[in-house]
């Protein structure tokens, strides 16, 4: 029950990874099928080249780069929940830290993969390191993404060490087959005070380190666009616009994951309604912030209506992309705000729907940042084939993009099957501390009563 003091053994039993039920297996089968379809499409792309895509001279960054930007954005959530909340000593977020971190790791892994997919000739990746220019934002992005991936992996791994010991001690049959993996990863963890102290210290260092790196990853990704002179990208607002959008989509993803894990692992005692309420307030704040940047991003150029921007903006507001644009704004921002601004909306089910809308809207928003601009170059499109004037991804592109999204979800699902999705040791420590502080408080109250009795 929420608010109830849960005994340690019960925490261990409730938070241990469990076997998947029929729903879980179906979920994994669907994701695996989608990922395999993506893989088949990618093999075809490798064999025949980027000709299988609908990318061309104008839209050279299509659905792949939209997907990349989406993954990069969603990965920011790791730094938000884990680092910012930990440094601010926000204890209520403890059950959400691992969810946030695995989403971040999974997203950043697939962001890296999708860039390789977009390259067409993956064996030429090394050329980036051999011949890359330090002046290029692409090189900055490569450096910052790899750095962020390492930090995120460490932030996932280090708080997991005490739980690995608990898992190794556990006699639960469901996890016996993973004991070799647990031993490989954390057999050295003995809960020794020196180990704990050192672990705490390096986690704090990582939390401090990940915040500027996370800001860099999103700013640099935005600079890939903003340093290219094109309508829609020629903005000094882009860094902040991307960071705020990333915070929002990441928080939305955590809300969705919170609901799914709570439901499927019966974690109502750990991921409570209060968590949804607090996350709801955070998402509303982030959505309002992102809305503010959106107003900046579109109102200012729309007010000036410079000739090259005009057709791009008209296409977004009332043309070819208007349905997607207004869906991304309304469903991805306005409706979630309207749901979560009310207390009733900050309960699990409405929050799940709002979170889902935020994530889906965010994906389309990235598509709208990439594609319409590429279809509106400053130099008019003359003597180009008609198919270059429009863009719709080929089935291979769609399969790879959907496959990558499914792959990232599969990674999160497998992780939650092998490792506890809510930190076990941290939860036990917090509950023990709560019990201890409760007893201490009781002693103080008793002493006060004694004193009052003596005085009387």
């Amino acid at each position: 029950m929420p608010g109830e003091i849960i005994p340690s053994q019960r925490i261990l039993n409730e938070l241990q990874p469990r076997r998947m039920g029929p729903w879980g297996k179906t979920w994994v089968a669907i994701l695996a099928l989608l990922s395999l379809t993506g893989l088949v499409a990618y093999i075809q792309q490798l064999n025949k080249g980027l000709i299988v895509t609908n990318l061309g001279d104008y839209v050279s960054w299509g659905i792949y780069i939209s997907n990349f930007v989406f993954f990069v954005a969603i990965s920011l959530v790791g730094s938000l929940i884990t680092a910012v909340f930990r440094l601010m000593n926000v204890r209520w977020a403890t059950p959400l830290t691992r969810i946030a971190e695995i989403i971040a790791v999974s997203a950043i892994c697939f962001a890296s993969l999708i860039i390789i997919v977009d390259m067409g000739r993956p064996e030429r990746l090394m050329n980036l390191f051999i011949y890359g220019r330090v002046q290029s934002p692409i090189i900055w992005d490569v450096i910052v993404i790899s750095t962020y991936m390492v930090i995120s992996l460490l932030l996932l791994y280090l708080p997991l060490l005490p739980d690995l010991r608990l898992l190794l001690q556990s006699k639960a049959e469901a996890n016996k087959r993973f004991h070799r993996l647990y031993r490989f990863l954390g057999s050295f963890w003995k809960n020794h005070p020196a180990q704990k102290r050192m672990n705490e210290k390096i986690i704090t260092i990582l939390c401090i380190l990940i915040i500027p790196v996370a800001f860099c990853i999103h700013t640099v990704t935005s600079w890939l666009f903003a340093t290219t002179y094109r309508p829609g990208w020629d903005s000094t607002n882009f860094g902040a616009y991307f960071v705020s959008g990333a915070f929002l989509v990441g928080a939305g993803a955590v809300v969705v994951a919170m609901y799914v894990f709570r439901k499927s692992y019966r974690l109502e005692n750990y991921i409570t309604n209060a968590h949804f309420d607090k996350m709801g307030k955070i998402v509303v704040m982030l959505a309002l912030l992102y809305l503010y940047f959106n107003v900046n991003e579109y109102l200012v150029p729309a007010y000036k209506m410079k000739k090259p921007e005009q057709s791009h903006l008209q296409n977004l507001f009332a043309g070819e992309f208007s349905a997607l644009f207004w869906f991304a704004i309304m469903a991805g921002l306005v409706v979630p705000i309207l749901i979560m601004v009310f207390k009733k909306g900050r309960t699990p089910k409405p929050m799940f729907i709002a979170g889902l809308l935020v994530v889906v809207g965010a994906w389309f928003k990235r598509y709208l940042i990439v594609t319409p601009t590429l279809l509106h170059p400053f130099v008019p499109m003359h003597d180009a084939p008609a198919r270059f004037m429009h863009y719709f991804p080929s089935w291979q592109e769609l399969a790879i993009a959907i496959g990558s999204l499914a792959g990232s979800l599969l990674l999160v699902t497998f992780f939650s099957r092998i490792f506890p999705i809510v930190p076990m040791q941290e939860t036990i420590d917090e509950v023990t501390a709560e019990q201890h502080s409760g007893a201490e408080q009781g002693k103080i109250i008793y002493q006060q009563m004694e004193e009052q009795h003596v005085t009387a």
């Binding site: 002046q135 460490l154 003995k190 020196a194 260092i205």
Partner: protein
Amino acid sequence: MSRLKILILIWALATCTSIAVAQEKKDLVIGMSYYLGDNQLPYLKLISKTKEGKAFIPVPATKLSVYLGEQSDAALLGNITTDEKGSAIVPIPANLKRAWDSSYVLQFLAFSGETAAFASADASLEIRKAKIRLDTVADAETPSLRAAIYEITPTGEVPAAEVELKLVIRRTGGDLSIGEDEFYTTDSTGTATGEFTRSGMAGDRNGYLVIVAKTEDNELYGNLSTEKKLPWGQPPALVNDFSQRSLYGTRDKAPVWLLILAYSTAGGVWFTLIYIISRIFKIRKIGYSMGS
């Protein structure tokens, strides 16, 4: 007369008037200009236009027949069609060389047949054969140019007096006068002299300027022009910063500030990460030492 007859008369009159109005064709105006570039290549430029309100509108796709001297197959310069701007060019064909050489006053005739929209039209242009020459003035204090126009007559070249001409520098997108005056007029010797006051003007890579002497739509001689390349300009001072360090330079030309900033930032972060990884090994060591 009965009322019915009056009505029929009015109807017949109205119908006839409307047919007459519908069949009224617009007037076509043909403009013709003669050009001679560098005293070598003569050609004609024709423009077909029509008046709408107070403005002349070009008439594209007008078929025109142009003749030299008389309207006959032997004197045909060409059958042409005007482009979307209503203009067309007719070179002088080689088979008319003899007629051309033996004439000193040239008469050009242009005809267009009747079309659905326009009535037939014709135009004529009479030009006296002439030459234009351009030289520098050798003994002048300031650089100066002398242009001379000579009419070609059966007795030889005769100076053409009182002809207005221009002395200009050819620039991208237009011509610039060589001095303060826009026009110069030839004297009794057929020459006009102009001072070049545009010193310091950017020329080609060797400092050369193209100077042109030309008449514009002169009623006797048409459009004559000749040009000369003179070293009176300044070669452009191109600053080649290709080999300098810059954000747009090659990888070995990155700015030093960027190298310091990028490497120190990345180095600082990765140094911290390496330290953290070393602490993980330390934690392992503590754990294994306890186990043993």
